[in-house]
């Protein structure tokens, strides 16, 4: 897990929501995220709260409030993937709190993808706030030795990016320091899904071109749920729009993540 605020690197996933307190509670209650900087009962956030950072291990989500009437949908940033030590148990815990699985991806529960990495993965897609996709990914080859990832579910696994052309998208993310790690493909009746994983530090992007994203006239939602990748590092601050409309922001000066708790007078 990377160190915070040491001049290194952190990837933050920005999520747009029409109802910020509900979204924050969903991420807290079902997905194990907590307000990053201090204890916060997210159910009673002030109505005018425009953004909130939530963290689970090395994954930070920046919730951003949008107008209640703004229609949100799936954009080029398709999903956030979190590690799962046991994806079946994770899904069961989600179901116990009425979280829905994505009927387009894993309608019946976790599935195996043996073609990924050396020993395959077992995954499930659930709906987060506003039906934003959250994947849980169990690596069959992961040794159980990492003390930071023993909890189920865990922290960052990857961020799923959808594109028309993998090479084109790879070139865009190379400009932010991401280097190719592995290529995979999945054969489907509609055509191949081409997947490339690119990495910077401990953060991974899954860049995928699917028959749907390559189809003539294909487009992404104008107001995407997962709306932006924020890279917190010492690089020159900037905001760039990629070939599929995705927005990547370089941001300096990550907020102090130290958790404040000991200031209350409990006597």
């Amino acid at each position: 897990m990377p160190e915070r605020n040491t001049g290194t690197f952190q990837l933050v996933a920005q999520l747009q929501t029409n109802d910020l307190p509900v979204a924050a509670w969903t991420l807290t209650d079902r997905f194990g995220f907590k307000a990053e900087a201090e204890y916060l009962d997210v159910r009673s956030l002030p109505n005018n709260t425009d953004s909130l950072r939530l963290r689970r291990l090395d994954q930070v989500i920046e919730l951003v409030r949008t107008d209640a009437s703004t229609p949100l949908g799936h954009g080029p940033f398709d999903h956030l993937a979190l590690k799962a030590r046991d994806v079946d148990a994770t899904v069961m815990a989600l179901r116990a709190k009425w979280a829905r699985l994505d009927p387009d991806v894993t309608p019946d529960g976790p599935i195996d993808l043996p073609m990924f990495w050396s020993h395959g993965v077992r995954i499930a897609f659930a709906f987060g706030p506003g039906d934003a996709r959250i994947e849980y990914c169990q690596h069959n080859s992961t040794p159980p030795g990492d003390p930071a990832q023993v909890v189920n579910p865990g922290g960052h696994d990857h961020f799923g990016v959808r594109c028309r052309d993998v090479d084109e998208a790879t070139a865009f993310y190379a400009g932010f320091g991401f280097a190719t790690e592995a290529d995979f493909s999945i054969v489907t009746p509609d055509g191949d899904i081409t997947i490339r994983f690119v990495r910077r530090g401990s953060y991974l992007l899954e860049i995928a071109s699917t028959p749907a994203t390559r189809a003539p006239g294909a487009s992404f939602a104008g107001h995407p749920l997962w709306s932006r990748i924020i890279i917190e590092c010492d690089d020159e601050p900037r905001v760039e729009t990629g070939p599929n409309g995705e927005v990547v922001e370089i941001r300096n000066g990550a907020p102090d993540a130290v958790f404040h708790f000991a200031t209350e007078d409990m006597s």
Binding site: Y39, R85, M92, P147, A148, V150, F261, A262
Partner: protein, 241 residues
């Protein structure tokens, strides 16, 4: 006892699997307030604080939303009439608590009256709907392996999908009991170990089975042991060796 290590996101994530509480007939209002205050001072962002219905207001006022509130029904052995327990459940639903468990009638479990277990579970789950996450308590330690499996089948048939292995309060959950349920029901039932969870080694075992929720009165000691494992400074003995 509580150190600066709680600010570490890894420690917070680890702490988030735990329920900590103050339950039992001998626990006074002062005890509940003291334990809730201790939790709040700790900075540990645990999953929930457990207390009995009569102590709910005190816990709520002390925690002020700091942790979710988990209140059991029919604690500890389900020895009340179904009507009494459902009345208590209705009260808790009205109170808007965050999480609960329901102590099944132990006589039905011990005598193997699985139809009665299913019927009781169904009535509870129909009342809860999608308003309150509910775990069914089966007092696994007092059952043999076949009874544990049958009890889980019975509550599944009644519409429940979470099982709390024991109530604590003298009944402890063994690693073998958790393994048994995991082996038979992983992916079909959410397992909550409870009772006599005292060490990080026990928690390691539960986590290796994908357990997401653990009840323990020793959460502070276990989290500190985890911090030492990460090499973080603790008052009890500095970084891990």
């Amino acid at each position: 006892m509580i150190g600066a290590y709680v600010t570490d996101p890894r420690v917070q994530a680890f702490a988030s699997i735990f329920h900590f509480g103050c339950l039992g007939e001998e626990k006074t209002l002062a005890d509940v307030i003291a334990e809730a205050s201790k939790l709040r001072r700790s900075g540990l962002n645990i999953e929930a604080f457990d207390c009995e219905a009569s102590m709910l207001d005190a816990a709520r006022d002390t925690l002020e939303g700091y942790a979710k509130l988990h209140v059991p029904v029919g604690y500890p052995a389900g020895n009340a009439t179904l009507k009494q327990k459902l009345f208590q459940l209705d009260y808790l639903l009205d109170q808007g608590i965050d999480d609960s468990c329901y102590c099944l009638d132990y006589a039905n479990l011990a005598e193997g009256d699985w139809k009665a277990v299913t019927d009781e579970t169904r009535q509870v789950m129909e009342r809860c709907g999608d308003r309150l996450p509910m775990a069914m308590v089966i007092q696994a330690t007092l059952l043999d392996d076949r009874q544990i499996v049958a009890a889980c089948e019975a509550i599944l048939a009644g519409g429940a999908n979470r099982v709390k292995m024991n109530t604590g309060y003298g009944w402890g959950t063994s690693l073998e009991e958790v393994d048994l349920v995991h082996r038979h029901f992983n992916g079909r039932i959410d397992i909550h170990p409870s009772g006599n969870v005292r060490t990080i080694e026990q928690v390691d075992h539960f986590l290796s089975r994908g357990i997401c929720i653990v009840h323990s009165a020793s959460v502070f000691e276990i989290v500190e042991a985890y911090a030492r494992r990460l090499g973080l400074p603790t008052e009890a003995g500095g970084p891990a060796q």
